[in-house]
């Protein structure tokens, strides 16, 4: 067993941290207040290769492994959650699904420009009336000749107004005995006639990011945009979540670290009753809890990343990492505010933004309640992972780096 990161991993951390701290830290408060995404963020992340970090070079990516993806997410969310959200939807939920399920033609058409950051990708599963209950979705896809006709609405979609491509799930067979088996997945180019989109404002957190809705009205897409086979949509969506949740877990770990670092700094500066507040045991207790959460969350996501590298199914481990890290990030941010006192309650300090951002990740990509049901299901033997027709490819350094 080797807990050490490689030189390559450390250089990735340093590089992504440099970008986030130098370019985003100075402007994040302004854009969070404006509830707008800084316009340079997506092009810059594309230009630096971050949007294709763990995709093979032959598909336009940078040839790094899944651990590097996690480390990048940790560094990005240590500055702001919106940066990591980009990775969750563009890489985790969409590009990795193409790597896992896509045909060579689909990879050429969609994955290559996404890995290069030339096209931005999002993921459409949630609907106004269907969240955790995925099979209750209303969106439909009807085959007509060599085209599918898509109708429906997707809600709470990160990058909805920024994306060029969406991986969506819609019902192709309303008569399937099990409604899960009636769903299929598609890649949709969002400049098609009949597609409309908008941003949602007034969110509690992730305000410097783009969260919106997508509407499809008789949108015609080529038959070859079907991802996987008809009826595989639910399985594909769940496999996407195995990757998206991994990025959320790693990001939430970064948020815990940010809360911890802010708390340590403030506890060393602020004085009360004649000494720095870090000397008080109740403040120390809060810091100690953050240290515990950070290190445990990091070990959990790195284990999941290692399993992805090995090509081992990691639904349970990724779910555990996501549940633990997101809940812990909310607690850490809340305690960071407590340490900062009244100052923490204002946006003069970052910790109030950490708390607002942390809450979102407890809801999306599986609420904490869903993850508890999953963990209990695995433990009690009620749930087991059935092998998929297409598994996420194991990281293979030679294959990943061949031109």
């Amino acid at each position: 067993m080797d807990f050490a990161l490689t030189d390559e991993h450390r250089m990735v951390q340093h590089m992504v941290k440099g970008f986030a701290q130098k370019e985003v830290t100075p402007i994040i408060k302004e854009y969070d207040r404006k509830q707008a995404m800084a316009p340079f963020v997506l092009p810059r992340m594309g230009e630096l290769g971050i949007l294709g970090i763990c995709l093979p070079v032959r598909y336009g990516g940078q040839g790094m492994d899944y651990i590097a993806l996690g480390l990048a997410c940790e560094e990005l969310e240590a500055v702001d959650s919106t940066l990591r959200v980009v990775m969750s939807v563009h890489v985790g939920l969409n590009s990795l699904a193409l790597l896992q399920w896509g045909t060579e033609e689909q990879k050429e058409q969609f994955l290559v420009p996404q890995s290069r950051g030339e096209k931005i990708a999002c993921f459409g599963l949630t609907e106004p009336g269907a969240g955790s209950d995925v099979a209750a979705m209303d969106s439909t896809a009807r085959l007509s000749g060599d085209k599918y006709i898509i109708n429906g609405e997707k809600m709470w979609i990160s990058l909805a107004t920024m994306a060029d491509h969406a991986l969506i799930v819609a019902r192709t067979n309303p008569d399937a005995p099990d409604p899960h088996d009636g769903l299929s997945a598609f890649m949709v180019e969002l400049d098609q006639p009949g597609v409309s989109c908008g941003d949602i404002h007034g969110k509690l957190g992730v305000r410097a990011g783009s969260t919106g809705w997508l509407s499809f009205q008789d949108v015609e897409i080529p038959r070859q945009n079907l991802i996987g086979e008809e009826g595989e949509g639910f399985k594909i969506a769940m496999s996407c979540l195995d990757n998206g949740r991994y990025t959320v877990a790693a990001g939430a770990t970064g948020l815990i670290r940010a809360s911890l670092e802010a708390s340590i700094k403030y506890a060393g500066e602020r004085r009360a009753f004649g000494r720095e507040i870090g000397k008080f045991q109740l403040v120390q207790q809060k810091i100690a809890h953050m240290v515990k959460s950070y290190e445990a969350a990091q070990l959990l996501y790195l284990r999941a990343g290692w399993m992805k590298n090995q090509g081992v199914r990691n639904t349970r481990e990724t779910s555990l990492a996501k549940w633990f890290a997101t809940d812990a990030s909310f607690d850490a941010a809340s305690e960071a505010i407590q340490i900062h006192g009244a100052y923490g309650y204002s946006d003069e300090y970052d910790v109030e933004r950490y708390l607002r951002n942390a809450k979102g990740a407890i809801l999306y990509e599986g609420t904490s309640e869903i993850h508890q049901l999953m963990q209990a299901g695995f433990a009690l033997g009620y749930r087991d992972d059935v092998p998929l027709r297409c598994e996420l490819p194991a990281f293979n350094v030679d294959a990943w780096r061949n031109e």
Binding site: D7, M11, H14, M15, G49, Q62, G63
Partner: protein, 259 residues
């Protein structure tokens, strides 16, 4: 053009550097490439991109120096050399300069050598000038812009940021240049560079390989102490009007003999 960049691995700027038992320590804080040296690497790469040739990065140090070298490789430098020798553990800047100059001479046919303005650990800031002196080359220190460079003609024109303003200096190659922040923001390592750097086998040269020996340092540090702790008292000045607050504040400033 054959270009050399000299870099150093130092504690991260966020590290808390203290003296314990007469020794400087930064605990388990991470080590990084000296931030000023990133500007030097950037400048070297820009000259290579404009005029062709290759960039070699050199660092004097133990195993930890490899990380600074790999960072420079990931930014785009073509080659790296580590100069390592246990006897250099207590080297002062002059000894370091002699070793660097010997390495530069061993490489041979070098046109330019770049340094950051200083290393953030020792903050001595004279290694570039001393290396130039040992080599017998001109030193252009605190350079904020290279306005003209003609490798064919062997000429260079730089702007120096000095306390009084900017100074334009013209001279000949080969030369040693130390750069300041205004020279331009360093690029991030690219992922392709990271992949290359992680695979790189960095040659290690001993002082014997350089055909020289380690001289005794001229400067030693017989005693290092922490700065005295400063007790800071904070007092909020209040009053019914800004006039009253300002008068109270002015009174306190005069009372404390700040002015």
């Amino acid at each position: 053009m054959k270009i050399i960049v000299c870099v150093k691995q130092v504690p991260d700027t966020a590290a808390k550097v203290v003296v314990e038992n007469g020794q400087v320590t930064w605990g388990d804080a991470p080590l990084v490439i000296n931030p000023w040296d990133e500007y030097a690497v950037e400048t070297a790469l820009l000259q290579q991109e404009a005029h062709g040739g290759d960039v070699t990065v050199i660092s004097v140090g133990g195993e930890e120096a490899k990380e600074a070298l790999k960072h420079a490789l990931a930014m785009g430098c073509g080659n790296a050399i580590q100069v390592s020798e246990p006897a250099l553990a207590n080297a002062d800047s002059l000894v370091t300069s002699q070793v660097l100059a010997a390495a530069i001479q061993k490489i041979g046919d070098v046109d330019m050598v770049f340094f950051g303005r200083q290393a953030i650990d020792g903050d001595v800031g004279v290694t570039a000038a001393q290396t130039a002196r040992v080599l017998g080359w001109p030193a252009y220190t605190l350079v904020s812009a290279i306005s003209e460079l003609d490798p064919g003609n062997g000429s260079i024109r730089v702007e120096r940021s000095v306390e009084e303003g900017r100074q334009v200096v013209e001279g000949k190659l080969p030369s040693v240049v130390s750069v300041v922040k205004d020279i331009g923001e360093p690029r991030y390592p690219s992922f392709m560079g990271i992949r290359k750097a992680s695979r790189a086998e960095i040659p290690i040269w001993s002082v014997a390989d350089l055909g020289t020996e380690v001289s005794d340092p001229v400067v030693t540090w017989p005693e290092i102490t922490n700065p005295p702790k400063q007790e800071v008292l904070t007092e909020i000045v209040s009053g019914d009007s800004s006039q009253e607050i300002a008068e109270t504040l002015a009174g306190k400033i005069l009372e404390e003999k700040v002015l």
